[in-house]
Amino acid sequence: MRRGWFLPIAASLGFAFLYAPIVSLVVFSFNESNLVTVWSGFSTKWYGALLADPQMLGAAWLSVQVAFAAASIALVLGTLCAVALVRFRKFRGRTVLAGTASAPLVMPDVITGLALLLLFVAMEATLGWPAGRGLMTIVIAHSTFCTAYVVVVVQSRLSDLDLSLEEAAMDLGATPIRVFFDITLPIIAPALVSGWLLAFTLSLDDLVIASFVSGPGSSTLPMVIFSKVRLGVSPDVNALATIIIGIVALGVLAATLLQLRSRPRKARA
């Protein structure tokens, strides 16, 4: 009977631990004083300060561009890779591809960042491309590690998929490519959406890899935030965090609802 109260209490404490710092961060973003931890009155002035900060806005715009491009490239590459791994049971180099596709998930960021930077420098010296570092090199770096996450998401959906649908289409004379676009793609669409969103948030959040592969004048949002908070707490970062957390919370809520709606259909199939 001891478990009766132990588990709920342990779980509540755990959730409190996960959420208390976030809640306090949100609360203090509305604090009037620039002391982030002493309450002195309600104010939205830090949101105003945020919108008037050109460095912050520029970095945010760069980050959104990078995340959009990287998530889209990763979606295409990751989906192709997942199709290859799940559908083409046997081909030469399958184990290597499977290993290479999942290795970025566990590779420490400092190594990935350093390795890509050294590659870009060596390529520039020998091939003359990429000339300098900036948006392009960050997009390439982010696409690479995001691909690994898209593979995981799409792969699990593909292996759940009922093969007989695809086989039926093939028997009726559809070419493999038509089967993919007409049958497979619509079914795995929810996985593609969540894979893209995951890649987008991961790219938007990356500090370490971007620090290595970005050039002068191309600071992403996490790089600007990091240089700010390294010097101490600043309330406009709280405001920014609140905005990001709000967007993410809405996104996750929408994604969960989407998944819950698509689940009964799967159960019937």
């Binding site: 710092p21 890779c81 400092v110 350093l114 590659l119 007409d182 948030t201 707490v233 993410v248 996750v252």
Partner: protein
């Protein structure tokens, strides 16, 4: 025109696949080859080759100029010469800084993993045993922080643990002296546990939710007390989840840079931070590369353990 002629068949919609098919046929490629080749080439060029480049540059030494390392291959009067320096690796083993940074990274990652397991296990178990309508909400609450910016969550902790932070203000209400938490190893433990707790809970949950309740009932019917049932049945059966969760915390913690940089003090030695400083502060790219190669060697064993745990889970699923 077509509005008068109702008998005419509707125009065939152009489908994306026809374009793709014609395009591929035009260059004489099969779809299958392309599906494999595109990600394979990308991952080779931007993931495997860079690791080889790191290894190559770890065998050079720093020099002033662009690029800031000595060339591996030199061509003098038609003689191609390969120059390898082992200086960086010798330095790693002889300079106490590197060895203690590795050992301290392993220690910090290990202790954090154990703490995360002790907090995460009861949470995962509680979620797995929760009523159906609660389970999805609780799971979403675990996943939500994972989607929220990692950097901002670490930042949120600094506001919590500072000298005049939330915790100390709270303790102050009871007249307790402020605790020094920031810039200590303690803050780094809290940071790692806080950031990676979802990674611990999710694999544990997937494992525990499949646990057959009949086994627990049988054990209770045979007179085992809850603790004994837990130790002899639940715990051994959840081993794959424990290993997967622990490795998902341990592996990234080893190479962590942001958490020791924001929460740790100057004496908090971690290998990710050493690599960062070699690269950015000392601009010693060859030394940073050697540190990276050595770090890879350290994480390979936990990565293999993780792979084994995941294979075990997959085999069991396939057997069903």
């Amino acid at each position: 025109m077509s509005s008068f002629d109702t008998e005419a068949p509707p125009p065939r919609p152009r489908r994306p696949w026809t374009v793709v098919e014609r395009g591929l046929a035009a260059v004489g490629l099969s779809g299958k080859a392309l599906v494999i080749a595109a990600p394979a080439i990308w991952l080779t060029v931007f993931f495997l080759v860079p690791l080889l480049v790191v290894f190559g540059i770890s065998l050079t030494v720093k020099q002033f100029g662009r690029p800031p390392y000595t060339p591996l291959l030199t061509n003098e009067d038609g003689t191609v010469q390969l120059t390898l320096h082992l200086n960086n690796y010798i330095r790693l083993f002889t300079d106490g800084l590197y060895i203690s940074a590795y050992l301290s990274s392993i220690k910090i990652a290990f202790i954090s993993t154990v703490i995360a397991l002790c907090i995460g296990y009861p949470m995962a178990y509680a979620i797995a045993r929760a009523p159906d309508q609660w389970r999805n909400i609780l799971l979403m609450l675990v996943i939500l922080p994972f989607w929220t910016s990692f950097l901002l969550r670490v930042y949120a902790l600094t506001g919590f643990m500072r000298g005049n932070g939330v915790i100390n203000n709270f303790l102050g209400l009871f007249g307790i002296e402020p605790l020094v938490m920031m810039q200590t190893d303690f803050a780094v433990y809290v940071g790692i546990v806080y950031s990676y707790l979802p990674f611990m809970i999710l694999p544990l949950y997937t494992n525990l939710v499949k646990l057959d309740g009949a086994l627990l009932e049988a054990s209770a019917d045979l007179g085992a007390r809850p603790l004994r049932t837990f130790l002899t049945i639940t715990l051994p059966l959840s081993m794959p989840g424990i290993i997967a969760g622990s490795m998902l915390v341990f592996i990234p913690a080893i190479g962590e840079y942001v958490i020791p940089a924001l929460l740790g003090g100057p004496s908090t030695l971690m290998i990710g931070r050493v690599l960062w400083d070699e690269f950015f502060a000392n601009t010693n790219w060859p030394r940073a590369s050697a540190v990276a190669v050595a770090m890879l060697v350290v994480v390979v064993i936990p990565i293999m353990l993780l792979q084994k745990a995941q294979d075990a889970v997959q085999d069991r699923e396939r057997a069903k």
